[in-house]
Amino acid sequence: MDCQEAKRMLFKYVDQELSLSEEKALNAHLHVCSNCASEFDQAYETHNLLYQAMVPVEPPVDLTERIMAAYDREVENQNSAAVEKSLWKNIITGWRSFIGSWQWKAAAVACCMMAVVLWSNKAVAPGPQLAVNNPSELHGQVDNVPQESDNVPAGGQETEPPSVQEPDNSKPVVPDKEDDPDQGTKTAPSKDPVKPKENVASPGSKQVIQLPQSTSGQTKLDSMEVVPLVENENRTAYRPALLGHDQTVYFLMEGDGSKEVWQVEMSEGAVAQKAPENTVLPGEDQERETVKGIPAWLSELEDVKKAVSVIYSWSPDQRNIAVNLGPAKDSGIDESTGKILLVRADGSQIVEGAKSGGGSSLVWSSDGTKVAFTDGFDYLYVLYVREGVLLQVTDSSNSFQKIGKLLWTPDHKKIIFEGQKNSKVPAGIYMARLP
């Protein structure tokens, strides 16, 4: 080995990247060459200095929080882009059929809303804007999201409407969390999504923010398709369950003195069949095992105390609670509708999500962007939480006498439920597809 070769090897030796034979050869050379031996010392010392200096650095204490706030904004960006896209398509394709008076109005309002969603800024009428923005506040996301959608590969963003602009109006209402002076970190745009907005009711005042576009029911878009999965003339199909198989619904089939677990694929016209013998459906007990209490302030809320029926449902991230309220006990027949409240668990925000409600169902999609619920007539609705858009799934032309056991599919795009169209036919299993 010559000196040139040895020098090249010094750092590799220090880095433990030499083979055994190379190491032996180098050692032999260092024994006889004092010049290279001294270079080795030098290399080793440099290595040591670097080794000492390059220790990990403790990040700012709030870094996780900041990153997760950015994550929430990102998720909302993706979701709202997807919803905007689908609604937009919906409105355009359904335009010709929107001739009836209220339907036309609904379309107009919906378009207006879309405009708000797409181009909202302070110049837009305050009413709908509030409506669009507030529910999203509920999720702790900030609207002034950096415009990164161009280079977002995932989440169906590629085909979003061209001029999606996030309003920058929420900037002032995002409370600046105290800086960490000892860390000297830069304050992220949204550090604490849970803090209340200035103009939002505190739990003390119990003020409920109205969503103008839902007060008259005008945002109801009949755009969901309901298809029967199981309709049997003689036997009752009920208690649907998803057992982790994305495309299979399991349910109980009862009639002719027997009660069995059956299964059916999630597609129209699929043939139901008996499930394998060992298939066990989750029992009622299991479904409630994760039951979680509700905050005291919520049960003390005037609306909640007065309602004839109340159902709560925690959002998957456990930050929000949806409340399906029946009509007030003392309400007259004219105002006998229930409503949906969306609240922050910490009481910092209470938003009226829909002017319909009062049924026995209320289920969040597992991504927390939608709530499916029924009203007092067992009409099924889906509320897009962040956009404040309400979709009516079933109505008088497509009605069920009873609807229950709502289940969101894992992709958040379908709802499986048990329904009975009228008292003359047994209950069946149905599927509603979101636009």
Partner: protein
């Protein structure tokens, strides 16, 4: 009657016990907590990397956030059959590297390096060596900072993460021989710049006994 639904009931294994690849799968299902767990698991490493690359504590925080957001966006491209960490680290390095290229060098005040160099002075030293260790670290950091990026990045990966040449080559997507050369040249440059420090002798943590231990 109050009925409560809570649909988050599939978990059997606590998230912090799940391996990275399992967390990625959950992230892809939209599970926020899984992503949070990944953030908690690796933010220190990514932050350290960003800090060593940018030499600015604030920028390092922003950059760490950017790295995780980028990760989130490309998570669906992760090949579940491979290890997550090298993939993630490669993305992190690229994001940091690109950020460096965008930003003019002058905008990184070196003062920050001095202010926020680790609270734990060194892996071996005594408390009385603290201030001196800090001073040494300062000089070393400045010397590293002055290296051209080509040489700086592999050295950071080598010493911060204790990566092998092969691992660095994977992260930087370069042949091992290139990494070897860059590490060699980079350290030769550093040697010249750190000569004064080395001349101070054993107190700087350069004792022969340590060397022998190695």
């Amino acid at each position: 009657m109050i009925v409560l639904y809570y649909e988050w009931k599939k978990d059997v294994v606590p998230l912090d016990r799940l391996h990275d690849e399992g967390l990625v799968a959950l992230c892809l299902e939209g599970k926020r907590e899984a992503f949070e767990e990944l953030v908690k698991r690796y933010q220190r490493q990514i932050f350290s990397l960003a800090f060593r690359m940018t030499r600015n504590y604030e920028d390092a925080g922003d950059l760490t956030q950017e790295v995780f957001m980028h990760l989130f966006r490309v998570l669906n491209k992760f090949d579940g059959k491979r290890k997550f960490f090298p993939w993630m680290y490669r993305i992190a390095t690229n994001v940091c590297y690109n950020a460096l290229k965008k930003k003019p060098k002058d905008s990184y005040p070196l003062d920050n390096v001095i202010d926020f160099t680790p609270r734990v002075p060194d892996r071996n030293s005594q408390p009385e060596d603290y201030s001196e260790t800090r001073e040494i670290q300062q000089v070393v950091h400045t010397a590293i900072a002055d290296l051209p990026e080509n040489y700086r990045v592999p050295i950071i990966l080598k010493y911060l993460e204790d990566m092998s040449y092969k691992e660095i080559a994977e992260v930087m997507d370069l042949p091992i021989t290139t990494i070897e050369t860059r590490l060699y040249r980079g350290r030769i440059m550093l040697e010249e710049r750190l000569e004064k420090l080395r001349e101070r002798g054993p107190k700087d943590g350069l004792s022969r006994s340590q060397k022998n231990a190695f």
